[in-house]
Symmetry: C3
Subunit: 213 residues, 3 copies
Amino acid sequence: MDVTWSLVLDLLGTFFFAISGCLLAARRGFDIVGSLLLGSLTGLGGGVLRDLIIGVTPTAFVQPVYLIPPLAAALLVYFLVHHVQRFPRTLLVFDAGGLALFCITGAVTALNAGLNPVAAAVLGVTTGVGGGLLRDVVANRDPQLFNPRDIYAVPAMLGATLITALWYLGLFNVVSELCVAAVVFTLRVLSLHYGWRIPHAAGSWHTPRPDGQ
Amino acid sequence: MDVTWSLVLDLLGTFFFAISGCLLAARRGFDIVGSLLLGSLTGLGGGVLRDLIIGVTPTAFVQPVYLIPPLAAALLVYFLVHHVQRFPRTLLVFDAGGLALFCITGAVTALNAGLNPVAAAVLGVTTGVGGGLLRDVVANRDPQLFNPRDIYAVPAMLGATLITALWYLGLFNVVSELCVAAVVFTLRVLSLHYGWRIPHAAGSWHTPRPDGQ
Amino acid sequence: MDVTWSLVLDLLGTFFFAISGCLLAARRGFDIVGSLLLGSLTGLGGGVLRDLIIGVTPTAFVQPVYLIPPLAAALLVYFLVHHVQRFPRTLLVFDAGGLALFCITGAVTALNAGLNPVAAAVLGVTTGVGGGLLRDVVANRDPQLFNPRDIYAVPAMLGATLITALWYLGLFNVVSELCVAAVVFTLRVLSLHYGWRIPHAAGSWHTPRPDGQ
């Protein structure tokens, strides 16, 4: 597959996640530098984690072009957030875009590095959910990943598994990649809209305590 | 030492920590996938950290067998948590089991990788407390590690130091390993039962502010 | 540049950050071991992160001398915190000292490892803010890094950029290094004293919700 397309999709995913980080920074009243940093962590965190696990120098520290999406995101949010605030789910929609692209690029990077298919799918999920998890953890709030009112990891698991299967079937190219990304994104957004749920961790016998320590 | 035994103890530690993660997920009302992910992070997090520091590809991403303990833990908690809820300290007892095994496997992995004895002991402690710390951090609660109402890191420090000493004395084998694990586990559980404490960070002159920012 | 000086400045930065971690532990009522661990994480976390990204075994796990600053910090806070409590900003001043030294040692380590100048500056910032971010995240509080009531990352950005420029201009030595550290430290402390601010993430149109989720 063309290296340029991989880079474009990775940068796009970085941009989507960075926007979600900058929007959270705006909501929490952080300043413009805090926005840039939270956007960078969200956009680049999943990929850095992926590269550390594979054992290569993180691309974000090798190719300065990776710093452009977070910079653009911080500027866009600074100048436009009075518009996007009208759509309360904007953050989650951009987050879904990042999730859709990163679960794929994570799996593909792992396959290119020679990891086994199971590890590739797991690393795809890790890359997909990693940036958003880091964003929520450093912003000191309950991670979106664990929110039981919709599904977050399931679309990423499906996407990473699908792309790994396509790779082994020899059907991996930029078109199939975009199709899988569209499926993941659509599933995630529909789950937000319809509030799709899956069974609770403790089965049906349990009444959770929301403050449970 | 037999590689099979090392693997069995590492998988058992992964399972214990994974159970603690899934139980926390159940208490917090996460869904079954959130339970699997929190269990995986708790069970595999300490070992991934250990392997990243040593500079090898994390075993969890090389050997798919490492995914079985978190899967088993999520299923067990899903089907059985209405029983275990009767024992409020179940989470902490499983956490203690993981701590006891991981402070040992962490130190042994470091010694096998050629790190100096001090670094091996420190990496044993890091591996032992890492998974539980990640669990509490992503679940957005005060880490058990820093709870001053009992002792958590001290047993791990003792276990990692003991196993490093036994290694250099040529007395390291699966029997001595299990003995050290039993000592660590017992110390931790007794400290929970009797509320053992050690002096506060600020000596005796200080009244802590529980909300201190 | 003399390796000994680099080591001294790195150990000094570790000590400053470790003190900030131990002071937070004291405020939160952690015990002496929790203080040692939070001090270690704060003092060593940024450097471990830096070394993992560069791809070398973290110095903290190679050179046991790195464990002395956190040990000294935990003991000092234990015996002296009834004095320092009188100065509520002590934690932030020590944190500023760590920030000033680590944004420099991070950039220099990256330049020595052959990273490009942009990556070196970014890694300098990452190293500088990393330890304090980890401290605040595991202590489950809003990170100082994102506090909009003063500036935190800007001095580190300036310092990492300056030192990278001096390196390429052939003007890098221990004197210029100490000058840059003094500039970073002074800027940070003045921003605390005068409450310097920069524009909010969302421009001027936005009223942040402090509890914004």
